[in-house]
C-alpha cells in the first residue's frame, strides 16, 4: 500500500480512530497490529524477512543483555560472538538481496544463459529496519540500553509502519518508549501533524512527480540531450530526489505526530549547505548519525587507525596525524553510504566521489584558510555564504549523475555530453518546454518551487510555520489547510493516466 493512495487515507483514519479509542495501555498493540497489517497489505511476500529480523533481534539483544551482567572474559567473548553472528546474519541477508541482481546477472552472462535466474525484489524497507535493529543490538551490547523483554514490543520497534518504507532510522532509546507509551489525544498536535502531512504530499505530488517527467525524459528517453539540458536534468533530479524523499518523510512524521509520536527529521534544508560535509549533516540525517555512531567512531578509534595516527605523529606530521585517520574513516563511511544505496558500481562511485571531496577539503582546510587570509576574503558575509551554497549545490548536482544514470558507464557518457557542448541558449529559447512538460506545467512547477524555497528560508531562520499558524484565528488556520489540500488535489501529479510514482528511497 502506497502512502500516496486513497487506500492509505482510509487506513490512516482507521488507525487514528482505533488508537485513540483503545485504552492507553493497549495502544501499542493497535500500532503493532496496524504495522503488521500495513506490511502485509504492501509487501506480503517479504513479511517473513521482517519477522525473521525481529526474532533474531529479540533473541540476540536479550541474550547479550543477560550476559552484560557478567564481566568475565569468557562472557565477553560469547557476547562478542553473538553480536558478530547477528551482524553477519543481518547484513548477510541485506547484502544477499542487494547483490543478488548483480551476481545473477554476471553469472548468467558468464554462462551465456540469459534469464537463468529469476528476479528477486528487495523486501520493503529492509535497508531501514535492518539498520535500526542492528543499532539497537549494538547499543545493548555496549550497555547503552536495556533490551526489551517483550517480543511484540521489539517487533513494533522494528516494524512501526509510517517509518518502515523509507525511514527515518531511529535509535532504540529515542523511539521505543514513545511507541509503547499510550499518548493522549491532542487536537492541536493532530492538526499540526496533518499539516505536515499536507506539506509532504505537496512536495511529493506537486513537485517531485511533476519534475520527474523532464528528468526521465532527459536521462531515459532522449539520448541526444547535451550541454545545459543534461545539467538541467541533473539539477532537476536533485530537486526531485529531495522533494520525493523529504516529502515522504514529512508524511510519515506528520502521521506519527498525529499519534503523539515524534520521529526525527531526516532533512535540514540540505541545499543550503555550505560544504559537502555539511550537506551530509543535513541530508538523510538519521543514516548519517547511524554511520557516525556505528562505523565512523569505532573505525577512527580502532587499533589500525590509532597506529596510523601514532606513526604520523612520530614522523612529526602533527597536522596529518590529526586529519588522516578521520579522513580515512569518513572515506570508508561514504563508500558504505554509496553501497547502502544500491548494488551497482555507480553507487560505490557515488560514495567515492563524496568521500574524495570531503577528504580533500579536510586535508587542505589549513591551506584554504591561508589563501583566504592572504586574499583578505571575508567569509562571514552573505555573498561568501551564497558562493559556498552555490558551489556546494553544483558539486552535489554533479554527484547526482552517479545515482541517476542507469549504469556507471553512462555516467561517463553523460559528463561528456554535458561538458563538451556549450549551449546556454537552450535555457531561453523554449527548449525547456520540449522536455515533457508544457508551459503551464513549467510555470506551476516554478510557483511550487518558490513556495518550497520560501518555506525553507523561513525554517532556516528558525520560524516554526505550523506553530505560527496555530496561533492565528482558527478560521484562518482552517482556510489555509483547506486551500493547501485543494492545491494538491488540483495540481498534484496523480490519478488516471498520471499516477503518483513510488518513492525513490523505497527502492534502496
Amino acid at each position: 500500500m502506497s502512502i500516496v493512495s486513497a487506500r492509505f487515507f482510509i487506513f490512516a483514519i482507521i488507525v487514528l480512530a482505533s488508537y485513540y479509542i483503545v485504552p492507553k495501555n493497549y495502544r501499542w498493540i493497535v500500532l503493532l497490529f496496524f504495522s503488521i497489517g500495513f506490511y502485509l497489505l504492501s509487501n506480503p511476500k517479504s513479511f517473513v524477512f521482517l519477522l525473521l529480523s525481529a526474532i533474531t533481534t529479540y533473541l540476540s539483544a536479550n541474550r547479550i543483555d543477560k550476559l552484560n551482567n557478567n564481566d568475565d572474559a569468557k562472557t565477553k567473548k560469547i557476547k562478542k560472538r553473538i553480536l558478530i553472528v547477528y551482524l553477519i546474519a543481518n547484513f548477510g541477508l541485506l547484502l544477499s538481496f542487494k547483490y543478488y541482481g548483480l551476481f545473477s546477472h554476471a553469472l548468467s552472462k558468464l554462462l551465456d544463459q540469459p534469464g537463468l535466474f529469476s528476479r528477486l525484489a528487495l523486501p520493503l524497507g529492509i535497508s531501514f529496519y535492518m539498520f535500526q535493529s542492528t543499532g539497537y543490538v549494538i547499543d545493548v551490547y555496549f550497555g547503552k540500553v536495556q533490551s526489551e523483554k517483550n517480543f511484540f514490543k521489539t517487533f513494533l520497534f522494528i516494524s512501526f509502519f509510517p517509518q518502515i518504507i523509507q525511514g527515518p532510522i531511529h535509535k532504540f532509546s529515542f523511539l521505543h518508549n514513545q511507541l509503547i507509551t499510550g499518548h493522549s489525544f491532542n487536537f492541536d498536535r493532530l492538526i499540526q501533524g496533518f499539516q505536515l502531512m499536507i506539506y509532504g504530499y505537496f512536495k511529493k505530488l506537486v513537485i517531485a512527480d511533476r519534475i520527474a517527467i523532464p528528468v526521465n525524459y532527459i536521462f531515459d528517453i532522449n539520448n541526444n540531450a547535451e550541454g545545459f539540458i543534461v545539467f538541467l536534468g541533473a539539477f532537476a533530479y536533485s530537486i526531485q530526489i529531495y522533494a520525493d524523499f523529504s516529502g515522504g518523510i514529512d508524511i510519515c512524521r506528520g502521521f506519527s505526530q498525529m499519534l503523539g509520536i515524534t520521529l526525527e527529521n531526516n532533512f535540514k534544508r540540505p541545499y543550503f549547505a555550505e560544504s559537502i560535509s555539511e550537506f551530509w549533516q543535513r541530508w538523510h540525517i538519521t543514516l548519517g548519525s547511524w554511520m557516525r555512531e556505528y562505523v565512523f567512531y569505532p573505525l577512527a578509534l580502532s587499533g589500525l587507525f590509532t597506529k596510523v595516527r601514532k606513526k604520523l605523529r612520530n614522523k612529526n606530521y602533527r597536522y596529518l596525524s590529526k586529519v588522516v585517520p578521520t579522513t580515512l574513516a569518513s572515506f570508508v563511511v561514504y563508500i558504505l553510504v554509496g553501497i547502502w544505496h544500491g548494488s551497482s558500481f555507480k553507487f560505490v562511485a557515488f560514495g567515492i566521489y563524496h568521500g574524495t571531496i570531503i577528504s580533500i577539503s579536510t586535508l587542505l582546510e589549513n591551506r584554504y584558510a591561508l589563501i583566504k587570509s592572504r586574499l583578505k576574503i571575508r567569509d562571514n558575509v552573505f555573498s561568501y555564504r551564497l558562493f559556498k551554497i552555490v558551489r556546494t549545490t553544483f558539486l552535489v548536482v554533479i554527484g547526482r549523475y552517479f545515482s541517476r544514470a542507469a549504469r556507471f558507464l553512462d555516467v561517463v557518457v553523460l559528463y561528456e555530453r554535458t561538458f563538451k557542448v556549450w549551449n546556454p541558449w537552450v535555457l531561453a529559447d523554449g527548449s525547456i518546454y520540449n522536455l515533457g512538460l508544457d508551459k503551464k506545467d513549467v510555470r506551476l512547477l516554478f510557483i511550487a518551487l518558490i513556495i518550497m524555497l520560501v518555506v525553507s528560508i523561513y525554517q532556516e531562520r528558525g520560524y516554526k510555520i505550523r506553530e505560527t499558524l496555530q496561533k492565528q484565528n482558527y478560521l484562518f488556520n482552517i482556510c489555509i489547510t483547506v486551500l493547501a489540500i485543494l492545491f494538491i488535489l488540483i495540481f498534484g501529479h496523480y490519478g488516471s493516466g498520471l499516477g503518483a510514482s513510488d518513492f525513490i528511497y523505497q527502492g534502496f
Binding site: A6, F187, I478, I485, I490, Y494, G495, L498
Partner: protein, 359 residues
C-alpha cells in the same frame, strides 16, 4: 470542556469547508461535452415537471438529434421528453429509464434505439460519457447500481474516478475556460430543447452507391450491451410500457444491422420497429441528403422536424387508446416556442446562405 467544544466546531467547520471546496472544484474541473454536458439539467427539468409525459425518447446521439418533443407537442398535443445523450452507453439508457420510473414518470411509450446491439461501449473509449452519465444520475441507489455494473463490465477500472471525480479531472486545470465556471443551467441552452439536441447547421451528405445493399459481413450481438437492452425490455414489460424501436438516419447504416434489429425485435416480441435509415422510408419522408443533415450520422432541425412529424402520426395512429392528446397549453412546452422558432429561423438563414453560395 470549552476547548473541546471549540475543537469540535473547528473540526466540523473544516470538514464542511473541505467538502464544499472539493464539490466546487469537481464541478469546475468536470469535463463538459458540448452535447451531453447538461443532461443533468435536462433530467431535472423532466423529473420535476408537472406534465405527465406519455412518450420518452432514450438512446444515443441519433435519437438525441432526431426527435423533437416540441414538435410532438405543437403538432400532435403529445407530451414527451428526450432523455438521450451523445454516445449514451446502454447501461445508462437503462438507468435513465429506471430513474424516470422511480420518479413516477413512467411513460406509455418508449422510443429507443438499440445502437450498441452489436458493439460494446468500452469505458476506455467512452469514459467521459460514462462519468458524466453517472454525475447526472440523481437517485443514490441507481448510482450504486451504476458502480456495480461498472465493476461487472470493467473489473479493472479504477472506481476512484467515479467516487472522487477530481481524481480523474484535476489535470484539466490547464484547459479551463470561462464556461467551466458557469453553472450548467446558465450555459447556452438554445440548442437543447426539451431534452433534444437541435442543430441549425447543414451538411450535404453522400450516400454511397452500395448503401443498403447486401454485403458479405456477419453482425452479431454484443453480450454486455444486449444485457442492458434486455433489462430495458424487461423493465418496460413490468411497467406496461410499449416500445418503438428506431434507427435514425445515418449514411453508415447497413442492411445487416437492420436485420440484427429485426431479429432482436422478433426475439422480444417488439411490434414496432421503424428504420429511418432505410432508403424506402428516407424517400417516403423526403429526407434531403443535401439539406436535412448536419453531419454524416445526424439530422439537423429540418430532418428532425420530418422525423418528429412521422413519429407523431405513428403514435396517433397506433397508440390513440393509451396516449393523452392535450389541447390545453403547457408552460413547460410553451417556454420553448420562441427558442424553437428562433432555431428554425437560423436554419433557414443558413440554408439561404448556402443556396446563395451555390449559385
Amino acid at each position: 470542556m470549552k476547548k473541546n467544544y471549540k475543537n469540535l466546531i473547528t473540526f466540523i467547520l473544516f470538514i464542511v469547508l473541505l467538502i464544499t471546496s472539493i464539490w466546487a472544484a469537481n464541478n469546475i474541473l468536470r469535463y463538459k461535452t458540448e452535447l451531453s454536458g447538461n443532461l443533468g439539467f435536462r433530467k431535472t427539468e423532466f423529473l420535476t415537471s408537472n406534465e405527465q409525459q406519455d412518450v420518452l425518447f432514450i438512446g444515443a446521439s441519433g435519437v438525441f438529434a432526431g426527435f423533437s418533443p416540441y414538435v410532438l407537442y405543437e403538432n400532435y398535443g403529445i407530451y414527451s421528453y428526450n432523455l438521450s445523450a451523445s454516445t449514451q452507453p446502454p447501461m445508462l439508457s437503462y438507468l435513465n429509464l429506471k430513474e424516470a420510473i422511480l420518479n413516477d414518470k413512467t411513460p406509455e411509450v418508449l422510443i429507443i434505439e438499440f445502437i450498441s446491439l452489436h458493439k460494446k461501449s468500452e469505458i476506455s473509449k467512452y469514459e467521459v460519457w460514462y462519468l458524466n452519465g453517472y454525475a447526472d444520475i440523481q437517485n443514490p441507489d441507481l448510482k450504486k447500481e451504476f458502480k456495480n455494473y461498472i465493476k461487472k463490465d470493467f473489473p479493472k477500472y479504477n472506481l476512484l474516478n467515479i467516487n472522487f471525480p477530481l481524481y480523474k479531472y484535476h489535470s484539466r486545470w490547464k484547459e479551463l475556460t470561462k464556461d467551466d465556471f458557469i453553472v450548467p443551467e446558465k450555459l447556452d441552452n438554445n440548442k437543447f430543447l426539451l431534452g433534444s439536441y437541435t442543430s441549425t447547421n447543414i451538411k450535404d451528405v453522400q450516400f454511397s452507391s452500395d448503401y443498403f445493399k447486401p454485403k458479405d459481413i456477419t453482425i452479431e450481438y454484443e453480450a454486455s450491451s444486449k444485457y442492458y437492452y434486455d433489462k430495458i425490455i424487461e423493465l418496460c414489460k413490468e411497467n406496461n410500457i410499449e416500445i418503438i424501436m428506431v434507427i435514425p438516419p445515418r449514411i453508415t447504416e447497413t442492411l445487416e444491422k437492420e436485420q440484427l434489429h429485426l431479429d432482436y425485435a422478433k426475439e422480444h416480441g417488439i411490434k414496432h420497429f421503424i428504420n429511418f435509415s432505410n432508403p424506402a422510408l428516407l424517400s417516403e419522408l423526403n429526407i434531403d441528403a443535401q439539406t436535412d443533415f448536419y453531419n454524416d450520422t445526424h439530422v439537423n432541425i429540418s430532418g428532425q422536424h420530418k422525423l418528429s412529424n412521422y413519429i407523431g402520426n405513428y403514435l396517433v395512429e397506433n397508440f390513440s387508446d393509451t396516449l393523452t392528446i392535450h389541447t390545453e397549453k403547457s408552460n413547460l412546452y410553451e417556454n420553448y416556442r420562441n427558442q424553437y422558432n428562433m432555431q428554425y429561423q437560423l436554419y433557414e438563414e443558413n440554408l439561404e446562405k448556402l443556396e446563395a453560395d451555390t449559385h
